[in-house]
Amino acid sequence: MKKDKKMTLTLPVEELMSCGHLACQGCGATLAMRDMLKALGQKTALCIPACCWAVIDGAYPYSSLDVPIYHCAFETAASTATGVKAGLEMTGDTETTVVAWAGDGGTFDIGLQALSGAAERNEDIIYVCYDNEAYMNTGIQRSSATPYGAWTTTTPVKHFKNRPKKDISAIMAAHGIPYIATASIAYPEDFVKKMKKAKDISGTRFFHVFAPCPTGWKSRPDDSVKLARMAVQNAVFPLFEIEDGTKLTLNMKLKDKKPIKDYLRLQGRFRHLTEDQIAAMQAEVDARWLRLLERAGD
């Protein structure tokens, strides 16, 4: 019976990403790209600044994607995408979806100005931040997306990152853009659904995608999807949408919210934390989750 059974496929089958790319084993960022391209299809143009994907795609003269990519300067994902969209429209192509695809460094830090500018003007682009919580491409330095408590090369154990992760969704919501969504590589169906929804919306759409990095998190490569799932289930990285900057919808209620310590334990970057520090982090996650529930009207 099994011989006749068809494979269960919960995502579109077409692959717009080929093998041979240069990502580390177990890279979350590649799953994020793979999922997004399945949602958007081939009529897509990407603007990729300096980040892991600037290298993952492959060196000149090769590429591993079946869509065009403009590799752009670090802080220019949003401004380049703005220009590409304008150029395509003014030369008769109003169908191609233009996507700025940047890491957390190029979004939360150096790219924030261009992103804010584009969002304020409501440029017709989809901006996707794949977040591996540090400057991984340059060797694991801290960004403002690095969570409290994490080791990085510039926040060594004796000076671990002691500022909270910047709340990028709140910043984007303050711009009043039509659509914001978080997504996780452990929930690709949710990501694809949201991306397909976003494709049909005009104006600036912002995605914050959680993409574990075994190299930078000092975690096992085979744990990447598991860690992404745990982060959703313990409310470290909740799944939600914000429409028009105000209407927040939680995509996953957590009836049985898991404690963060199991999640932290699987990552070497948190190994140095004391019980007290973990307890403080748990309190912060709980408080943030409650605020989210309030905003969602639950």
Binding site: A45, P68, C72, A73, A81, G83, A86, G87, A114, G117
Partner: protein, 384 residues
């Protein structure tokens, strides 16, 4: 049709007649009128372009590049601090082979804040792989924008059209506006074979190892070296349709000159007046106004200057720790060839200090009064 307009508006009309499709710009004194007029033209439909009101000059150039690679003719304008902020992206436009045309108003670099003219802003960018045209009349500004698009798009190299702050940007002159239909004949739509499109997907500008980078930049230089001839040819084509030609340089009474002044920008037109006055007084002076600095017009500069007994370069800029920049470039162009005249170097007019006929009289007095050219800077008009 003749119109009285400021230099800034000559840039706007140049972009309009060239049918720029995407304009992305950020305001800075004294460029603001360029983009204000272009905004109005987009709003009233006389220019069919998308005007992106970006939040900084860095984003202006990044979005121009994005629009250009998507296949649109793009234009922007800036000055001084804005140009400096774009610096990273200037390299990007040339290295990426994007034919963006940009107006730059030569304004002094801060600190202290100065809105007046000198050339350090654009000259700081002379190594970025952009063509540089220095203008001395509003007519020239408008004509140069149109021709710059043609040359840039043929070579896939960006270009800046440069004019002095206030002395030209805000000075009103009569400008002949070419007929749009004639400009369309001269400058067809931008239609690049390779562009960013899902119909023909490529990754642009990916990680490039030592195995390939050298050749890519060699190719850029080889194409840049085609520019002098192409600029001359384009100028002759333009002259056929519009009656005006300006090549790489603008020589005035150089053929029989004993002393040739080398100038650029509006100082270049003041120098003509000075040359006339000097000739009246019995000095056989001439003026060589350099219009195109990049690519450097070696052959034509050598051909004109070799006839003189002395050359006096007047720079409205300085490379600290060395000398004026046009001086260095001219001197190096003449070096080592037999029969070349000595080159005297002067610096005047920084920060918008006025360059007058008297400035040139002082330059000429010094030059005639010295046998050999001193290597040290000769400062004109500084209260030492």
């Amino acid at each position: 049709m003749k119109k009285v307009m400021m230099g800034n508006h000559a840039l706007s009309y140049g972009a309009m007649l060239s049918r720029a499709r995407v304009i992305s710009a950020y305001p800075i004194t004294p460029q603001t009128q360029v983009v204000e007029l272009l905004s109005e033209m987009c709003a009233d439909g006389s220019l069919d372009a998308r005007f992106i009101k970006v939040e900084s000059e860095h984003s202006a150039m990044a979005s121009c590049i994005g629009a250009s690679v998507a296949g649109a003719r793009t234009f922007t304008a800036t000055s001084a601090q804005g140009l400096a902020l774009m610096h990273e992206m200037l390299h990007w436009a040339s290295g990426g082979r994007h034919p963006v045309v940009m107006g730059n108003i030569n304004r002094s670099m801060a600190p202290g804040w100065s809105i007046w003219t000198d050339q350090n802003d654009s000259l700081s960018e002379r190594d970025t792989g952009w063509m540089q045209y220095y203008c001395s009349s509003n007519q020239e500004v408008l004509d140069t924008v149109i021709q710059a698009f043609k040359v840039s798009e043929a070579l896939m190299i960006p270009a800046m059209v440069i004019l002095d702050a206030f002395s030209l940007s805000h000075t009103y002159e009569v400008v002949e506006l070419p007929d749009q239909a004639e400009v369309d004949k001269f400058l067809p739509p931008f239609d690049p074979e390779i562009r960013l499109t899902p119909k023909d997907p490529h990754a642009f500008g990916g990680l490039t190892s030592p195995e390939h980078y050298f050749e890519l930049r060699y190719k850029l230089e080889m194409d840049m070296q085609k520019a002098p001839a192409l600029i001359e040819e384009t100028g002759r084509e333009y002259e056929k349709l519009f009656g005006r030609r300006l090549g790489l340089v603008d020589p005035y009474l150089c053929d029989d000159a004993g002393l040739i002044l080398v100038t650029s920008g509006t100082a270049g037109s003041t120098a003509r007046v000075a040359v006339d006055a000097l000739r009246q007084a019995g000095v056989k002076a001439g003026n060589l106004r350099i219009k195109v600095l990049r690519p450097f017009p070696f052959e034509v500069v050598r051909a004109i200057l070799r006839k003189a007994a002395k050359v006096a370069v007047v720079d409205r800029n300085i490379s600290y720790g060395a000398h004026g920049i046009f001086y260095q470039e001219v001197k190096s162009a003449l070096y080592g060839r037999p029969g070349m005249p000595p080159v005297f170097g002067f610096i005047a007019g920084l920060g918008g200090r006025d360059i007058t006929v008297d400035t040139f009289k002082e330059v000429v007095d010094h030059t005639l009064g010295h046998e050999a050219a001193d290597e040290a800077i000769v400062w004109i008009g500084v209260k030492k």
